[in-house]
């Protein structure tokens, strides 16, 4: 691409979506939702040996307002579920979620009355990591999966600029065009 570049060196043509996705995927700031033993592995992932900084996620934010990836690491009880949901709601869009370990994915070995059998009953999960607890490399892999997911996202730049009302208008317009097409047929 650079060889045919009409602007000489130092220029690169791309789409706004691609560059938005690139920026987002390489600076995913995690919100550590460490609830039990999985949190230790999550810290190991952030430590020097596994070094999540290589993927741009070294900044563990203790404030949900500044983070865009929630790692739910550990057993979620019914009482804690409300707290997890509240923190999730406080995170700004766009946001992603990793269910780390068997407990947060499915309740794990705690098939009993106080434990929620999977956090996907109340928040949308992007990647599930199996293991009890999963190794730090497995969580790194989950992070890379999310990066991959972000890189394939369409209209991310447009969605970031438009408000919800604008998006709704776009949706209506698209529906109208669809109807026209159907009528033409």
């Amino acid at each position: 691409m650079l060889q045919n570049n009409p602007f000489a060196d130092g220029f690169l043509t791309t789409t706004m979506d691609a560059i938005t996705n690139w920026a987002r995927s390489n600076a995913l700031w995690p919100m550590p939702m460490g609830l039990s033993c999985c949190a230790i592995e999550m810290m190991a992932m952030a430590g020097p040996k596994y070094d999540v900084a290589r993927f741009g996620s070294e900044v563990f934010r203790m404030s949900p307002r500044q983070s865009d990836l929630m790692i739910v690491a550990g057993t979620v009880t019914y009482k804690m579920a409300h707290v997890v949901k509240k923190i999730w709601d406080q995170m700004p869009e766009p946001k992603w979620c990793i269910a780390m370990g068997a407990c947060s994915s499915s309740g794990g070995m705690f098939r009993s009355y106080p434990v929620v059998q999977g956090i996907d009953q109340f928040i949308p999960v992007d990647v599930y990591v199996p293991g009890c607890p999963p190794r730090p490399d497995a969580v790194l892999h989950a992070l890379m999966d999310i990066q991959e997911k972000i890189k394939h996202q369409r209209h991310s730049f447009r969605d970031a600029l438009l408000s919800e009302e604008g998006l709704a208008k776009l949706e209506q317009q698209r529906e109208r065009e669809q109807e026209k097409l159907v009528l033409q047929k």
Partner: protein
């Protein structure tokens, strides 16, 4: 240890129903009405100054279904004693020993939370672990292990997950 038991038996002959010793552990089965007096004597005269634990048990029998177990320790002489109180199902009430050991407060709250045994004279008998509006007592034998469906509310799944209807799970596990 034996002299303490003998002294207690002489003093509370009507209240102590049974004394057992098993592998060096002494257990007294005591009437519920006398538990506070016995505990106070044990603490003030025999130095059982540490209330290690108070817990409950569901024996699931016709009579005297519930049991409250007190584990006490004399830290100075390194002695341990266990007291047991049995109560019926219809009216599970035991006098509180918070006036003897203040540490009994949370132990009794936990026992109340798990078995529904009420402690008379407890300053603040609320649930310890379960939500306050929970209606059941989870460690009773007739409580299902997986819980009662819908008894504890979950936060609502309001955001539509990609490609799925709101609230629908990705993995098709059983919802409780």
């Amino acid at each position: 240890m034996t002299d303490i038991i003998q002294a207690l038996q002489a003093r509370f002959s009507h209240a102590i129903r049974e004394t057992t010793e098993f592998r060096g552990e002494t257990t007294l089965l005591v009437d519920a009405a006398a538990i506070v007096d016995i505990c106070r004597v044990l603490k003030e005269e025999y130095g059982f100054n540490y209330c290690v634990d108070i817990c409950g048990a569901d024996r699931f029998t016709e009579e005297e279904r519930f049991e409250v177990i007190y584990n006490l320790t004399n830290l100075e002489k390194r002695l341990r004693i266990r007291l047991k109180v049995r109560i019926g199902e219809e009216n599970p009430v035991v006098p509180s020993v918070t006036s003897v050991w203040r540490a009994a407060n949370w132990h009794e709250r936990e026992t109340y939370d798990m078995y529904g045994i009420r402690f008379e004279g407890h300053p603040d008998l609320r649930r310890m672990y379960m939500p306050e509006d929970f209606e059941y007592y989870p460690l009773r034998k007739d409580f299902p292990l997986i819980g009662v469906p819908g008894s504890i509310p979950l936060p609502e799944f309001d955001k539509k997950a990609p490609l799925k209807e709101a609230g629908q799970r990705y993995n098709r596990g059983e919802q409780i």
